[in-house]
Amino acid sequence: MIEFGQPLALFGGLALSLPILAHMAYRRITEKRLFPSLRFLSPTTIPRSGRKRPSDWPLLLLRLLLFTAIVLILADPYLTNSQGDAPVSASREQRMHLIDTSISMSGWGAWEEVRENLLEQWSDESVDHGMLAFDTGGLKLWNPGIPVDELRAALNELKPIYSPYETGALFTRLSKLWRDIQVPKKVLIYSDFQSSDWQDVQADVGALGAELFLVPTGHREQLWKTRSGNRALVDARAVPAGLGKVGVWAVVRNWDFNATPVQLSIFAGGIERERVEMLLPAQGTEQAHFTLPAGDFASAIVRIDGEDACSWDNNRSLWVMPPPARGFAFLNHEQLNISDLAEKEFLQAVMDSVGDGVWNRWSERSDSDEVECLLIPGFSDWAQDDGVVEELKNHLERGGVALLTPAESYVGMNQTLRESKLLDFTFNRVAQTEFRMDPYRIKVLAEENPLSAVFSGDSARDLYLTKVRKFLFLRDWEDQLDAPLFDREGRPLALVRNFPNGGKLVFLCFRLLPEWTDLPTRNSFLPLLVELCGLSGDAGLEENDDILAPGTLIGDGDDAILAKDPGLYRYAEKRISVHAPLSESLPEVISKEELMEALNGSRGVSLSPDLSLSGLGPDHSRDQPLWMWFALAAGVLLIVENMISAPRSGPLLSAPSRDA
């Protein structure tokens, strides 16, 4: 249906008499006439008035149409979507207030505006008010018709939360609530309409027969535009900074349109330890560096001094002491033979040597849940009997790493691995060099082999000089297995299977014993095992910590902790950092038109924070504007009018000749 944004402009249609009068008053010379002689003619001025009736009806009609088109343009016509005009009963109107409780609402004064607007809305007792919002416990619904006092009490309890939530869930719940209710309905969304929260939302409010109202809050004077005035600590990390020192670097982002001077300070042990000043470039980032004594403090807080538009992102906590050692464990037969013991010692030496001993270190653990690396020397069918296979599978599924070396009962080893579906290959025989002059050598690493980045130059030569006197000759291994090492005849010396959740199973085709290979005595031993098993770790502390989003449940059962706010948590021996998503600091606001379209708010209204519902007319952003069509029609009519009314410059007209 066509409606008009400025219906008063239609009164301009009364002026349709103007073109009629103009048409009658204005006399044009539109015709040239050939004439035999001008000697008896006297030039006269063409009178501009005195026409008693219009003589050029098509031209008058054209001018009337032109004038009508102009009047309609001024009246701002638009085509409304009739979908939102579903028949409703005469029952009381239901008005649902959808409240954005994302943490960004705590900035730019948005939450205060939400409260003011809600209290003002609830003063209208002619409608049934309801409320829908997320809090730390999840989505909460206050049904329409609930006493306003209860709503006020709920509002007092409600506040912006750090936990991220799905904005679309608000509309899913609303849809369930209103699906079969035929009453006048209005939806009011109170939000800062931050882009990150709303850019993916899709809903069909129009299908519910509800009118949609957007109540922007926290926009201040920059309504529906990108806001400014926020500075945020977007990252902070601790790194080893030499003997007895911990370095902390922090990244600060300025979302202001002007360069801004700021002061950053670091607090440890409750005392400000260092302060730096910097000039943040407009819409840019800057880094700050601090140094703290190592071992004195477990954590620190980096803080932006002063106030800005959004203050929740001005602090960032971080761990500054070395992280707990990473765990490894041996799984072996209850009755270790000499070979097993010797091999275990070699592997123990490897694990003791991995890392730097301070920031990145390994220690043997007994609790399997804390173990990242499992070492199983002399793997064979005993593993099946002792339940080691199940433990190994669980470990791998948790993302752990395991290293296996074969026992002398090769068939049992092969059968156990195949039956447990850990490794599938065909064991052919054991290649030995007792009767040969030369041992087996490791084949030169291919360029695309990840190990080639580690072994180059002297280290590569050392690796290639490694003697392998005995190894299992495998063939027909399954495709999902990687073979990073080969002998010079192309037979695999190691197999690696990567599991989907990060688990890694490394199978060596030889034992780490002198009668099998001299690898444990070479410089290549440690780096080769570290690279094969992926034991190397970043020196940064947080690499060994868990970083979670707010609202995450840490642990299981009764010991579980809900990390609802940003900060540092410790669960068992794990250190956990909880940071709110950076996107909540962004000042970008989604456009009103885009949001209306995403929500199908066919009859949407955008409210300023200080305006009431009754004070605004309909917002046409969702309707289809028609003014451009009328403008096009007016343009065409104007051109035609000009063509018709302009003095003709073409061939001269003569009266029609009736000559044969």
């Binding site: 015709e31 006439r33 004439f35 035999p36 008896f40 030039p43 006269t44 009266a655 000559d659 044969a660």
Partner: protein
């Protein structure tokens, strides 16, 4: 029958002329002069006492009957049709049956046909400044047909015939000629006084037929027009309603002055209007022809 609107649809001027003359001239024409001449006219019974030279002996031999041949007598009268072919003659009013040129063309054809039937020789002088047509007067039907074809191919364009051409025309007009001038005579009376100098001589008779369109007399019925001169570059804007009275008065004065000038030059003057039938003009012409 003589409605110019109907007649103007006939392309063939020879046919048109026969239709007009036969439809209007029964009983009005005097008999053809029969006597000695070059062109056979008819047989008739021999009258005793008549010159035996007229007896057709071949017929007598075949039918044993004396018949005498009669010949159309040469009259030694020349009819010179002067047809104005300037651009202004192309004018045709909104409701006019035909242009002035076409009207004059039809009249000239009728005059030529009448003259030829009476044994006169017919010639043509006309056209415009850029294209002057001159056909010396000749007798006989074939000559007339050639003249009519030539006249039918003329188109009004350009300015009036120049002074030099008129001078040459004055010099070559045969004696005993009737000159019929068909024009709108809008060039000015002084010009025509000079052009018609020959009319003062007794050897010539001259009939000037001013052919005008009704709109030239009363102006077109329009609120405002931009008038563009047909034989020049002049243009002017005027409201016909406002100037109609003044224009008519000026036109009347000019016509009176023109008539006076032409009569003083020794010629006769008749005014024709293209929406009138051709009979009026024919009668004027025949009146002159009877006198001659």
């Amino acid at each position: 029958m003589l409605d110019p609107a109907r007649l103007s649809r006939i392309d063939d001027l020879s046919l048109l002329a026969r239709l007009v003359v036969r439809g209007s001239r029964s009983g009005m024409h005097r008999s053809i002069r029969q006597g000695r001449g070059n062109e056979f006219f008819q047989y008739r019974s021999y009258e005793p006492g008549e010159d035996l030279k007229n007896v057709d002996w071949r017929v007598f031999a075949k039918r044993d009957e004396l018949v005498a041949k009669t010949y159309q007598e040469d009259t030694n009268v020349n009819l010179l049709l002067v047809l104005d072919g300037s651009a202004s003659m192309a004018f045709s009013g909104t409701d006019s049956p035909c242009s002035k040129f076409r009207y004059a063309q039809m009249l000239a054809a009728c005059f030529g046909y009448l003259a030829q039937r009476q044994g006169d020789r017919v010639g043509l002088f006309g056209g415009s400044e850029d294209s002057v047509e001159w056909i010396r007067p000749q007798g006989g039907r074939a000559a007339l047909n050639r003249l009519l074809v030539q006249m039918g191919s003329m188109k009004p364009a350009g300015r009036d015939i120049g002074r030099a051409s008129w001078e040459r025309f004055n010099a070559v007009i045969p004696h005993e000629s009737i000159v019929v001038v068909l024009s709108d005579f809008l060039d000015g009376e002084e010009e025509w006084a000079d052009r018609l100098r020959f009319a003062k001589s007794r050897r010539y008779e001259c009939l000037c037929l001013q052919t005008l369109d009704r709109e030239e007399l009363v102006l077109p019925d329009s609120d405002a027009l931009r008038f563009v001169e047909m034989e020049g570059d002049g243009e002017l804007s005027a409201s016909p309603e406002l100037i109609r009275f003044d224009y008519s008065a000026k036109m009347n004065n000019y016509q009176e002055s023109l008539q006076k000038t032409i009569i003083q030059a020794g010629a006769e003057f008749e005014f024709l209007q293209t929406d009138l039938d051709l009979g009026h003009a024919l009668r004027s012409f025949l009146g002159m022809r009877v006198h001659s």
